[in-house]
């Protein structure tokens, strides 16, 4: 992601004090633990022109829940800070397509790839076909559409542990769909989905790998 952004001429900073958005806790029902993370996020990123996140579920967490979490904490300054900062927080693909208005970011990835639409990106962030347009502009790529593009891969955070059997069944459908495309690699905007899918692809010794959208976009033609 850093590579792509710098290639496009932007200056990237990584505030070292950042840790986690708190989604795992919040979504599992633990609402006390993630509260301090709101203030932490604000203090780390407050001055940024734009905050870019390689994970649609993290951005969804912040957009959907940070305002009310700040309200719960009751700190007027924090509420205001969150309100001001959130419009500058982007998931990586939406930063490129919506904020920068780009589709071609100068990438080269000569492989057969299929794209999985992560649920949070699709439904919470409304990424639409942004990721696919970015992929289509990649030189050398052979993009194949997957059946059941919008169907959940079955990760769902702690769901994969608490309901391991159902999660596995959902994953089996997704894995089959990936294999049916004949792709070498499956990509998405969320590492949680990719880790999940990769787990099965590897266990089954399919030889198919997963790769984050950012990795594809970062990939360049080798210098001769």
């Amino acid at each position: 992601m850093v590579k792509v952004l710098e290639r496009l001429g932007h200056t990237v900073e990584f505030p070292a004090g950042q840790t986690c958005c708190g989604q795992m806790h919040w979504n599992t029902g633990y609402q006390a633990e993630p509260l301090p993370l709101v203030g932490q996020f604000v203090s780390q990123f407050k001055g940024a022109e734009a905050v870019v996140v390689p994970s649609s579920s993290c951005v969804a967490m912040m957009r959907d829940h940070y305002p009310k979490m700040a309200a719960e904490i009751g700190d007027a300054k924090l509420i205001k800070d969150v309100e001001e900062l959130l419009p500058r927080v982007f998931e990586f693909s939406e930063f490129l397509t919506k904020r920068l208005g780009l589709e071609d970011v100068g990438a080269y990835y000569p492989h057969r790839v299929t794209y999985h639409a992560s649920c949070h990106g699709l439904r919470n962030l409304g990424l639409g076909d942004g990721p696919q347009r970015l992929l289509k502009a990649v030189r050398g790529i052979d993009l194949v559409e997957i059946q059941g593009l919008e169907q959940c891969c079955g990760f769902g955070g702690t769901f994969a542990i608490k309901n391991a059997d159902v999660s596995s069944a959902m994953l089996a459908e997704k894995t089959t769909a990936v294999l049916n495309t004949g792709a070498e690699a499956c990509t998405a905007c969320d590492n949680s989905c990719l880790m999940h899918i990769q787990g099965a692809l590897h266990r089954q010794r399919t030889g198919v790998r997963t790769v984050h959208l950012a990795e594809i976009l970062a990939s360049e033609e080798a210098v001769a």
Binding site: V12, G157, I161, K162, N163, A164, A172, M195
Partner: protein, 482 residues
């Protein structure tokens, strides 16, 4: 009636993960569920795309239902007034027990020891048939699916297509046996014809009917039933006495509001522009329909749901079942895994709340929070939000020494401090080392995790942590970076 009857009772049902595991092993069921949900989803998508104002309808639906719940007492009283004025008799029931008691007494008072019933989730919720049988009253289900379930001693697995877990061979066997039709054909048309003949005899003869209601219209005192087969019309028109039982959440402010619901519901429930029959009647009408009409308004913990500001939107549900068809979890397990007559996404939020969070605590976790349900809900219930809210309620009930709670606390502490976060990353690398094995390509993978994490490695490998975390990479290049 000697066969074992599955009872979907949330107070005794196994937890979702346990029940789901059983259902996942039922290949026939999974096939039926997949087929049924796909068919309805495709039909729904087609008819929804025909309406350019679909999103505006959804928003109106949401506002109508929200407004109703905010003024529920007012509208219930208005309905009662207008229904009574038109010759209906309105009863109130605090809970399931009282509702059953009232209905049983009313049936007896009607002078009949049998009733014909229209499908009603409300009657399933309270297990009405069981109470009627105990009082010596035979209840005949008249919806084809409910008939199939009743004759097959089974329970509903879907709000709108309750017997979708049965295929035609299974249905044929049930009919052959229970209707005494050894020569019965196996085409769906044959089965429907058999049901028609079997039930027609009852429609023309039985004096008392029990129904649910889709809507109680406050402005007019009218009741609206939305159906496909015509058995509803039979039950609310031909008998001498009609007893309608409805949750208090069924009330609708005005006649005009039906213009929204009658567009949202058929398209969402069965993927049709309009379902075959809608019946609206008001009290008693001389010479047309039952001479005696009773409505039983039942609470049964709906007021508890109403009291929870964040859970309240659950009551906006119009029982279309679209969420079930869209849900990737339901698709794998079917409805019976939820251990309640309300299954799928709506079941995951309604059932525990109706149980006041004493039971069905695994249901809010029976979801990957993918949001497909919210996308299709005709009245825009934010089911994922409510799921998270209910998970919080479950956690609050937990013992502080609960293993999961402790682990979560520990993780929380780690996330609050960058120093601890780094330390955890280092520790993770150390801890995983003994579990890592190199694969054919030389990269490190873990194929067996201990304890509860073992659920992950059942079917998945976990890649070894990268040699260099992003943090470390960033710091290394620091001075060299642009």
């Amino acid at each position: 009636m000697s066969a074992k009857l599955h009872v979907l009772d949330p107070t005794t049902s196994p937890s979702f993960p346990v029940a789901a595991k059983t259902m996942l092993g039922n290949t026939q069921l999974r096939k039926n569920v997949r087929h049924a949900t796909e068919v309805i989803q495709n039909k729904r998508a087609r008819v929804v795309s025909e309406l350019p104002d679909w999103q505006q309808l959804r928003e109106a639906g949401r506002q109508i239902r929200t407004h109703t719940m905010a003024n529920l007492d007012f509208y219930l009283e208005e309905f009662e007034r207008n229904c009574t004025k038109a010759g209906g008799v309105v009863h109130w029931a605090r809970d399931a027990a009282e509702a059953k008691q009232i209905v049983t007494a009313l049936v007896k008072a009607s002078g009949s020891d049998e009733v014909i019933k229209v499908k009603s989730m409300t009657t399933e919720e309270i297990h009405l048939n069981h109470a009627l049988e105990a009082a010596g009253i035979r209840a005949y289900e008249t919806d084809l699916a409910e008939l199939i379930l009743q004759l097959g001693h089974d329970m509903p697995s879907h709000i709108v297509v309750p017997a979708l877990h049965k295929n035609r061979q299974q249905i044929r066997e049930i009919f052959q046996r229970e209707m005494n039709l050894p020569e019965l054909g196996e085409r769906p048309q044959d089965l429907a014809d058999a049901a028609r003949r079997f039930l027609r005899e009852k429609f023309l003869r039985v004096k008392t009917a029990v129904s649910g209601a889709n809507f109680l219209i406050a402005e007019t005192g009218g009741v609206c039933i939305i159906e496909s087969e015509g058995n509803g019309r039979m039950c609310v028109t031909l008998p001498e006495t009609l007893i309608t039982i409805a949750g208090i959440d069924k009330v609708l402010p005005r006649f005009q509001d039906l213009e929204v619901m009658l567009q949202l519901i058929p398209r969402s429930a069965t993927g049709e522009r309009m379902n075959p029959y809608n019946s609206i009647w008001t009290g008693v009408h001389e010479g047309d329909g039952p001479r005696t009409f009773h409505v039983v308004l039942m609470d049964n913990a709906r007021t508890e749901v109403l009291a929870d500001e964040e859970g309240r939107q659950t009551l906006n549900c119009v029982r279309c079942g679209a969420c079930q068809n869209a849900c990737p979890v339901y698709r794998q397990t079917g409805g019976l895994a939820y251990g309640s007559v309300y299954a799928g996404p709506i079941g995951a939020i309604l059932t525990p709340q109706l149980q006041q969070m004493h039971h069905a605590q695994s249901l809010p976790y029976a979801s990957s929070l993918c949001g497909a349900c919210y996308e299709v809900c005709p009245v825009k219930i934010n089911i994922p939000e409510v799921l998270i809210h209910l998970r919080h309620k479950v956690v609050e009930q937990k013992d502080t020494l609960d293993a999961e709670a402790l682990a979560m606390k520990a993780m929380g502490l780690i996330f609050r401090s960058e120093r601890r976060f780094r330390a955890a990353q280092r520790l993770g690398r150390i801890a995983e080392a003994p579990l890592v094995r190199k694969d054919g390509q030389g990269s490190g993978w873990i194929d067996r995790l201990p304890g509860i994490l073992g659920g992950w490695t059942q079917v998945r490998d976990l890649q070894q942590m990268p040699k260099e975390t992003f943090r470390e990479w960033w710091e290394k290049r620091g001075s060299r970076g642009k």
